[in-house]
């Protein structure tokens, strides 16, 4: 029976070397993200939130320490192993949407489906159904250029879902959106979390957004300063900022 722990970080450090100077961007002594959990990471700019996200998502490697994903240590993975790891396990939602401009909404999602199908069992996901799930059933044939910012970000959420990931990482996914559109995207993420059972880690510097999470990590100066548990997370529709 699989453990309830999806991601475990043990004494993880990320140090950047700039010439002769070493800057410690992050030091996490112990952190566990459970399956299906919605975690918000809060902190000021430069506090290390994105570094944490990058390490958990396998797009950066720690300087030291151990990162276990589903019981497997990914901290020593090669570039090739990290690529496969991301392909099979992680969905990303970026601040600037990062859709492929020459592909339609459906094709952007299908791109991720095809990737996931390449090395293993197909995720059996219908891109159109995924787009419908984020409220874009009537925009499947549109190119990114023809979609609003909120629509583009919802396509990105659908793309993140396409491979049926165990973990979805959102780096300021509402940072480039207006209030109303931002809430639509948060709703989509929350729905995915509840309906699909995917854990979500949402990085933001926007304090009110933390209310929708099960747990809130406060990061300051590269360390987790405090952890807050939301007994009653609020619905994204009810959040104001």
């Amino acid at each position: 029976m699989p453990s309830d722990d999806l991601v475990v970080l043990r004494d993880v450090r990320k140090v950047y070397r700039m010439g002769d100077v070493e800057v410690q961007a992050l030091h996490v002594r112990e952190l566990t993200i459970r399956r299906g959990e919605f975690v918000a990471v809060l902190g000021p700019s430069g506090s290390g939130k994105t570094t944490l996200l990058n390490l958990v998502g396998g797009i950066d490697a720690p300087t030291s320490g151990q990162i276990l994903f589903d019981g497997e240590d990914i901290s020593g993975f090669s570039d090739r192993q990290l690529t496969l790891f991301r392909r099979e396990n992680v969905g990303f939602v970026f601040q600037f949407f990062n859709l492929i401009p020459t592909l339609t909404a459906e094709e952007n999602v299908r791109f991720a489906v095809d990737l996931a199908s390449r090395d293993g069992v197909p995720p059996d996901r219908d891109p159109k159904a995924l787009l419908a799930k984020v409220g874009l059933a009537d925009r499947v044939s549109h190119f990114p250029k023809q979609l609003s910012g909120g629509e583009q970000q919802r396509v990105a959420v659908a793309r993140a879902l396409a491979k049926n990931p165990k973990l979805i990482l959102g780096d300021e996914p509402t940072g480039n959106l207006d209030f109303r559109t931002g809430k639509l995207v948060l709703s989509a993420l929350r729905d995915v979390n509840r309906d699909e059972g995917a854990a979500v880690v949402l990085v933001t510097h926007n304090m009110p957004l933390a209310a929708i999470a099960d747990r809130v990590l406060h990061i300051r100066d590269g360390e987790i300063a405090s952890v807050e548990i939301n007994e009653r997370p609020v619905a994204p529709e009810d959040v104001t900022w």
């Binding site: 570039d79 392909r87 600037f96 020459t102 990737l115 250029k145 491979k163």
Partner: protein, 795 residues
């Protein structure tokens, strides 16, 4: 305050260069290639011209020669007293047969001379010594023939004079200024192994040709400040008692014409080749800088929002261009000066000039630096100005990467859809080609321009091969050709017909004539032949069919001669022959496009007017013969009295082909240069392609796309664009070759651009190889992308 703003922008310009140093290094290399070619060719040309001038002045080159039947050597004193004559010398010049120790046959021109001390046409001895004054069998041999036939000092040659074989000994290798470039007659292609110049003393020529104190040619050097043409008139008047045949001013002398033609071609090459490279590099620079500036539109908008003026922003990008120009010209001038030494030395050696004069030409360097600045500033000004004129808000918010078509699947992809695999590895590249149109256009243009120099180089060589092939299969339709210095009758023709292996004999009478029309004179070689003779193939270019024109007693002229004289078919032209007193008016019946020289043709019957009697004697024979017996036939022909030159076509072709192989070196250098240029241009283009798509590619990698598939996608996209670029590049290259040939075409030959299918295939494969190699650095950059950083970049 204003000063501070400008200095901050200058600092930014420098930081921009450092931040994109890979791209800027390639731009600098691109500019330097253009400048290198300019300095190399221009300096090389000036060195070559100086070397030739030094040879002419040191060896006291004659300004004119007059050929006569026979005149005493002492007549030179009388000519030397003519006002304006610096020196005059009567000599003997006569073509005879020559046999090498290995049995090979050639034509030898015997030229009598006092040697290195001559006041006119002094001999330069390269190896050995000049023949001794009292020796009767010593000769100095021209270096090009000696090199080609591997004849050395001490070897023996057999001269075949009037049916007699006379052995002589080579005591030195050298030449005089008239034969620095040894050509038998104007319009000939150089064929060093078939034409030798044999310099002998007066004592030896008397022994060989029984000249007994006389000569058949007077060489005259004119004092500075005097008009050689006027001096020539006076010389002609003085030699009238000796039956003058023809006068050759320096500009008519085959060797000088050949050298001048080489020098002119070198000068044209020194202009056109760098111009071509500069155009290619400027176009590529324009594209690269355009993309660089386009990519900085956000920064431009921000700068404008902060209060920078259009002029300051323009100056900023011009500063970047100036940095490229400074780097490119410094590198280019350095490499060019180094390359020029090699080019000049190679050419001087190839042309057989005895001296190499090297110099530093400040104006060449100044022009090179000027060209670098003009091309860089022009390439940067347009995109910088267009960006500077944008409203700040537009500049900041416009997405430079999304130069995409409207919101529909491109027609081409819809048409291809049924056959395209469903995989995005294929569909994404296809989609990119048709939707990122500006990027596709830049890439196609970049690859096409990158190809031009390589295609031009290959097309130039193919065209020469094609010309040779056509000249010896379609034009020169004979196996053996014999020219005689003494005319002969039908009995000789019958005798030749009886030689074993001779299948057919066609006879002709060849003479130099002057054509005059509309106040313009033109010296040509006129061949009188039977109207149905087919030893020469015509390429009709106007008027009646050439054979009909001959049958009607009309002239057949080369189209270029007709152009120069302003003649059209049906027009009349005055023909001045040395054999009759007055010019004869003849009709131009047909024109022919002649690839080599400017020959003219007339029927034997019509030639009677130019000879003064019916043609019953001939001086040339064209033979169809068994190729296996051709050399034996040549041998027997040389045994006949008056045989001056006997050519076996197969041997001639072989010698010309082997001589052209020498040019392969230059072709290889140019092709390597073209490939380097192509690499830099394509590398710059691909790097810009990848740079523009950094976030897109990083995103794909982040969501799990692997490097192998990304490489396939990028390669596929580049190959698709190359498919469009290759035909365009070939077309541009052939057009550039045509433009080069248009400037090279001389009286001696007319070239048309031609590229063989095999060469097209080879050049396409070479370009694909260059393309794949150029892709390596930008693809490696993708592999090393910092995904965390790249995915956060705001477009």
């Amino acid at each position: 305050m204003r000063r501070r703003i400008v200095s901050t922008l200058t600092l930014k310009a420098w930081r921009d260069v450092l931040a994109h140093k890979g791209q800027f290094i390639s731009l600098i290399v691109l500019v330097s290639l253009g400048i290198t070619s300019y300095v190399t060719f221009q300096n090389g040309y000036h060195d070559l011209a100086a070397s030739l001038e030094q040879a002419y002045s040191t060896l006291r080159f004659a300004d004119l020669t007059v050929r006569v039947e026979r005149m005493p050597l002492s007549a030179a004193r009388d000519i030397a007293r003519i006002d304006g004559v610096a020196a005059a010398r009567v000599r003997t010049v006569r073509d005879v047969g020559l046999e090498l120790e290995n049995g090979d046959q050639a034509t030898a021109r015997i030229v009598s001379t006092p040697g290195p001390s001559a006041d006119v046409n002094a001999v330069h001895v390269e190896q050995g010594r000049f023949p001794a004054h009292d020796a009767r069998d010593e000769v100095l041999l021209s270096p090009q023939f000696a090199t080609d036939t591997k004849t050395r000092v001490g070897d023996r040659l057999v001269l075949r004079i009037g049916g007699e074989r006379v052995a002589v000994r080579v005591v030195g290798i050298g030449t005089d200024p008239e034969y620095l470039y040894a050509l038998q007659s104007e319009g000939d292609l150089p064929s060093p192994g078939s034409f030798a110049v044999v310099f002998v003393t007066e004592r030896t020529v008397e022994h060989l040709l029984d000249t007994s104190g006389s000569g058949n040619d007077v060489a005259v050097r004119v004092k500075a400040g005097f008009d050689p043409a006027r001096v020539a008139d006076e010389v002609e008047r003085r030699v009238r008692p000796y039956n003058p045949i023809s006068t050759a001013m320096r500009d008519d002398m085959p060797g000088h014409v050949g050298l001048q033609s080489e020098l002119d071609q070198n000068r044209l090459m020194a202009r056109s080749m760098p111009a071509l490279v500069l155009i290619i590099s400027s176009m590529s620079l324009f594209i690269a800088l355009s993309r660089l500036v386009q990519a900085q539109r956000g920064e431009i908008g921000l700068a404008k929002a902060l209060g920078y003026g259009d002029g300051q922003i323009l100056a900023h990008y011009l500063t970047i261009a100036a940095i490229v120009a400074i780097g490119g010209s410094a590198l280019g001038v350095g490499l060019g000066l180094w390359g020029a030494q090699g080019i000049a030395a190679s050419y001087v050696s190839l042309l057989g000039l005895p001296f190499l004069t090297s110099g530093f030409y400040p104006h060449v360097v100044a022009i090179a630096v000027g060209l670098a600045f003009v091309s860089c500033l022009a390439a940067a000004a347009v995109p910088a100005w267009s960006s500077a004129r944008l409203a700040p808000a537009v500049a900041m918010h416009a997405d430079p990467n999304r130069s995409l078509a409207g919101g529909r699947i491109p027609i081409a992809e819809r048409l291809l859809s049924p056959v395209l695999p469903r995989s995005f590895t294929v569909r994404v590249p296809v989609r990119n080609v048709f939707r990122a149109r500006r990027r596709s256009l830049y890439t196609v243009l970049g690859i096409a321009f990158a190809m031009v120099l390589s295609v031009t180089t290959v097309a130039m060589f193919d065209s020469i091969d094609h010309l040779m092939d056509k000249a010896f299969t379609e034009v020169e339709r004979w196996d053996v050709m014999a020219a005689f210095s003494v005319p002969f009758g039908e009995a000789r023709v019958a005798e030749v017909r009886r030689i074993a292996g001779v299948e057919r004999v066609q006879k002709a009478f060849i003479m130099p004539v002057t054509l005059s029309a509309r106040g313009t004179d033109k010296d040509v070689v006129l061949t009188a032949m039977a109207p149905d003779a087919d030893f020469h193939g015509f390429t009709p270019a106007g008027g009646a069919a050439p054979f009909d024109a001959l049958a009607a007693g009309d002239l057949v002229l080369s189209a270029s001669t007709a152009r120069q004289l302003g003649l059209v078919p049906g027009a009349s032209v005055a023909v001045d022959s040395p054999l009759v007193d007055d010019p004869v008016l003849m009709r131009v019946g047909a024109l022919s496009d002649e690839m080599l020289g400017q020959p003219a043709f007339v029927s034997l019957d019509a030639a009677a007017k130019l000879i003064g009697s019916q043609v019953t004697e001939y001086n040339a024979l064209y033979l169809d013969a068994d190729p296996r017996r051709a050399e034996r036939i040549q041998d027997e022909l040389y045994d006949m009295p008056g045989a001056a030159s006997v050519q076996v076509k197969a041997g001639l072709v072989e010698r010309l082909t082997s001589m052209l192989e020498l040019m392969d070196f230059f072709g290889t250098v140019l092709l390597a240069f073209g490939s380097a240029l192509a690499f830099v241009v394509v590398f710059t283009t691909f790097t810009a392609n990848v740079t523009e798509r950094t976030r897109e590619i990083a995103t794909m990698r982040t969501i799990g796309e692997d490097n192998a598939h990304l490489t396939i996608m990028i390669t596929l996209e580049n190959l698709l664009l190359a498919l469009a670029a290759l035909p365009l590049g070939i077309w541009l290259g052939v057009k550039a070759t045509d433009a080069l040939f248009a400037s090279f075409t001389t009286e001696s030959y007319t070239l048309k651009a031609y590229i063989s299918p095999g060469s097209i295939l080879r050049i396409c494969l070479l370009m694909l190889l260059v393309l794949l190699l150029s892709e390596i650095p930008p693809v490696r950059r993708i592999f090393r992308l910092d995904l965390a950083e790249a995915t956060k970049v705001m477009e």
